[in-house]
């Protein structure tokens, strides 16, 4: 394990905004250690046994496959008992608020609560009330911090590991394309890349861009041909099909023609530019199937794999000395950062 970075001191992981560049660095470093370990069979058992006897509750009130399973696998690899809570058949279905549900679950003394909810700020709310650390697994259109961390870790690995990769990040231009307006992934990524010193562009039709997004420190493009010019990394976002007909977009055909990533548009980026996607993908809508499957350019499967490592790293950091953190945490500071 790498010990050269100070561990993150926060009690919860709610937002990339709460992390310093050093915090991000330390989480990615630990993630890459786990990745390394997972590829070396002799260290695997050591990892799995680390938090045996502790429990992790996945409180997902919004449907999810990959994120929930990723947290579940991460928790299990750390030796925890994982309880998946879904809305179907739950007290929330009977009218209980998410806060009361979380308090009930908290009373059962889990070591960690992972929360996904359709409303922005819900993870923050729960973090103020429950007794255990909370990890935000996506709150509305606000943030999805572990996704941004896994994206950064994936790129770091691709660029040669933590030291070399992180150093190179500062020279990268990253384009985030698609439904920026509704994307928590985009928000977390914008904040993270900016903190690490990369240049960030967002590319989308104006109907899918948040108001004054340029003030978040990004360059704004409405034309893929202009926006993709000379970028190093293209991060495509999922386009919700429910937005295809209505006041956001006219049709899948038009969206794909102007904003879908195909070979012609990819050719505008730097030679060898990498392609990312947080999934699930709509092939033929936001990305051409051939590009999604490009072995040498697409990092999409690597992102999924790295997701488990990042979540293990985050859990490990939050659980490593919970009592000490609780004492350090200032009462008015949600994240416990000093």
């Amino acid at each position: 394990m790498t010990d050269s970075y100070l561990p993150y001191q926060g009690r919860h992981l709610l937002s990339i905004d709460d992390l310093s560049a050093a915090d991000i660095h330390s989480i990615i470093a630990r993630s890459l250690d786990y990745w390394q370990a997972s590829h070396e069979s002799d260290t695997k058992n050591q990892i799995i046994d680390k938090y045996r006897g502790k429990s992790l509750i996945n409180l997902f009130t919004e449907s999810s496959t990959r994120t929930q399973k990723s947290f579940e696998i991460a928790g299990k690899r750390l030796g925890m008992d994982v309880i998946n809570f879904s809305v179907e058949g739950s007290s929330i279905k009977k009218g209980e608020t998410i806060l009361d549900t979380a308090l009930t679950l908290s009373a059962m003394r889990p070591a960690l609560l992972v929360v996904r909810n359709a409303e922005a700020g819900s993870a923050h709310l729960l973090s103020l009330k429950v007794s255990c650390p909370v990890i935000n697994a996506g709150d509305g259109a606000h943030e999805h911090p572990t996704q941004a961390l896994l994206d950064a870790a994936t790129i770091s690995l691709q660029l040669g590991g933590i030291d070399k990769g992180m150093a190179q990040l500062k020279n990268l231009t990253i384009a985030i394309c698609g439904d920026i307006l509704h994307s928590r992934v985009a928000r977390s990524n914008i904040i993270l890349w900016r903190k690490l010193g990369a240049r960030v562009r967002v590319i989308a039709p104006l109907t899918l861009l948040p108001e004054r997004v340029a003030e978040m420190g990004v360059e704004v493009f409405t034309d893929m041909n202009e926006g993709l010019s000379d970028v190093d990394i293209i991060m495509m976002l999922r386009l919700q099909k429910e937005r295809m007909n209505g006041s956001f977009l006219p049709s899948p055909a038009e969206y794909y023609y102007f904003y879908g990533l195909d070979e012609k548009k990819l050719a505008l980026a730097k030679p060898g530019a990498l392609v990312m996607h947080p999934g699930p993908m709509n092939r033929g809508v936001e990305i051409d199937s051939a590009i999604a499957d490009m072995m040498d350019r697409s990092l999409i499967m690597s992102q999924v794999e790295m997701g488990v490592m990042v979540r293990m790293a985050v859990m490990d950091i939050l659980l490593s000395d919970t009592d000490a953190r609780a004492k350090q945490a200032a009462p008015t500071n949600r994240t416990g950062k000093k």
Binding site: P205, L206, T222, G246, Y257
Partner: protein, 475 residues
């Protein structure tokens, strides 16, 4: 092909007689003063001392029944009779144009290369362009494919005489259009005020006639909303037809603020007021409806001071059956293209003293500027008639007093409230690619040739000032 010389003509803004030589390919070869050169092989046309101007570009025409190449010939004859060689067709319920496929199909039918030799002979056809629908099915809610329709050739996007009722939808329309620098053309009537029940403008006359009406502020409400949103989003916005004083004022103020907006009106809105409805004359049922006299005058003022940029025919030909109905049931619209120039000259030039070249610019250079991107940059009037340009021009007579007879319209639709009206000024000849495609002399009209009234200055001043008699009743 032989060369053509049009002799004995005056250029817009000039008085001296001259001539133009058109080469065999239909391009302007030379301009000259005085007597025309002696070229035995050339076709010689006598311009009769009339003014020669660039041919007209009509930015709002409704065509519902363009279904085959021969209808392109028929439509071309109607447009040429009005001096128009370029016209932009507006989507309608019968001609939705709300996806790229329908735009491509329309432009394929109107491609001159596809024009069939037939009863039109081998004469050139008019250039018909189109707008795409602003929303799917003209319903005002769902965005249509501005990007793909723009690539297919749509010059802008509008919903005909409808508008997006929802402000949220219109905001998204402006936002989405801005991605493609697309022009949004909005109809200036608030749909919730000017709903289907309203058939004329609210007034004492409406009360007397017992017709359901919408307040004239419907226009201001719509424009104010649209322009507020344009101020937020930016982008290219055009409103028309403008019909009220409040509407003119809003456009004027918005332009002062530097917003990239333009506006148009149609000849009936600066020539007629609501009293043209008379005893339930359905030919005067329009959308927007004819307004009060003060509004009509404000539209004239807006044209003269440049607030209103463009004049469009707003031609909406209808079968008689659509008009021979009780007023509330009749369909809105009129056959207005062939009366466009006579009304412009009569009202704006003769009554209000507006210079002819400024009036003609509103149907030539101004609309071309609006679509500059599609037509290779801006061109002023002089450029349009420069040596080397296509010889698309109009010979016009601004002096002769004559009486409109809808029976002599080239258009099969005769739905006009101007039947029998005396006007001064007309299209004498239309020339396309150097060929005469319309010749007034070949038609049978009753022209009032009265030497005492060759030039009439403000014949209606008296009554317009006291507002007691409608302009319509003067005709």
């Amino acid at each position: 092909m032989k060369k053509t010389i049009i002799k004995n003509i005056r250029k817009l803004g000039g008085e001296s007689a001259g001539h133009v030589v058109i080469d065999g390919a239909g391009f302007i070869e030379q301009w000259g003063g005085g007597a025309a050169p002696n070229m035995p092989d050339a076709v010689m046309i006598d311009g009769g001392g009339h003014v020669i101007a660039p041919s007209f570009f009509d930015m709002r025409t409704t065509i519902n029944n363009l279904s085959a190449a021969d209808s392109l010939q028929r439509w071309s004859r109607v447009l040429f009779a009005a001096g128009v060689t370029h016209a932009v067709v507006v989507p309608s319920q019968k001609n939705l144009l709300d996806d790229a496929k329908s735009v491509r199909a329309f432009l394929s039918l109107t491609n001159p290369k596809n024009a069939r030799d037939g009863d039109g002979g081998d004469l050139p056809v008019a250039n018909l362009h189109c707008y795409g629908a602003m929303t799917r099915g003209l319903a005002g809610t769902q965005l249509s494919e501005y990007g793909l329709m723009g690539l297919a050739g749509a010059l802008g996007f509008c919903d005909g005489d409808h508008n997006a009722a929802s402000s949220e939808a219109f905001l998204q329309i402006l936002r989405y259009a801005k991605n493609f620098n697309a022009l949004i053309l909005a109809h200036p009537e608030d749909p919730s005020l000017s709903n289907q029940d309203a058939v004329m403008t609210s007034s004492l006359l409406a009360s007397r006639l017992g017709l359901p009406s919408a307040p004239a502020v419907s226009e201001a409400v719509q424009l104010q909303r649209d322009i507020t949103l344009v101020g937020l989003v930016g982008g290219r916005y055009h409103a028309g037809p403008i019909t009220t004083r409040a509407g003119v004022d809003i456009i004027r103020q918005a332009k002062k603020r530097g917003l990239a907006i333009t506006a148009d009106t149609a000849p009936h809105y600066f020539t007629l007021n609501e009293t043209a409805i008379g005893h339930y004359l359905t030919h005067a049922k329009l959308s927007p409806p004819l307004r009060g006299e003060d509004d009509r005058q404000a539209v004239v003022e807006g044209i003269i001071d440049g607030t209103i940029d463009i004049i469009a025919s707003d031609h909406k030909p209808l079968h008689d059956d659509k008009k021979r109905l009780p007023f509330a049931s009749a369909v809105v619209g009129m056959a207005s293209i062939e009366t466009m120039l006579p009304l412009m000259i009569t009202t704006l030039h003769h009554q209000h003293g507006m210079a002819l070249e400024k009036i003609i610019a509103m149907v030539t250079t101004k609309p071309r500027e609006l679509f500059a991107a599609a037509f290779g940059g801006k061109k002023n009037g002089e450029d349009l008639l420069a040596v080397g340009q296509p010889a698309d021009m109009v010979l016009l007579d601004e002096k002769t007093l004559w009486k409109i007879n809808s029976g002599e319209f080239v258009s099969p639709s005769k739905n006009t409230p101007f039947d029998g009206s005396r006007v001064q000024g007309r299209v004498v000849k239309t020339i396309k690619q150097g060929r005469v495609v319309f010749d007034m002399e070949l038609r049978k009209e009753e022209i009032i040739r009265d030497p005492m009234h060759e030039v009439i200055r403000d014949p209606m001043d008296e009554v317009i000032l006291d507002h007691k008699v409608s302009v319509y009743h003067l005709f």
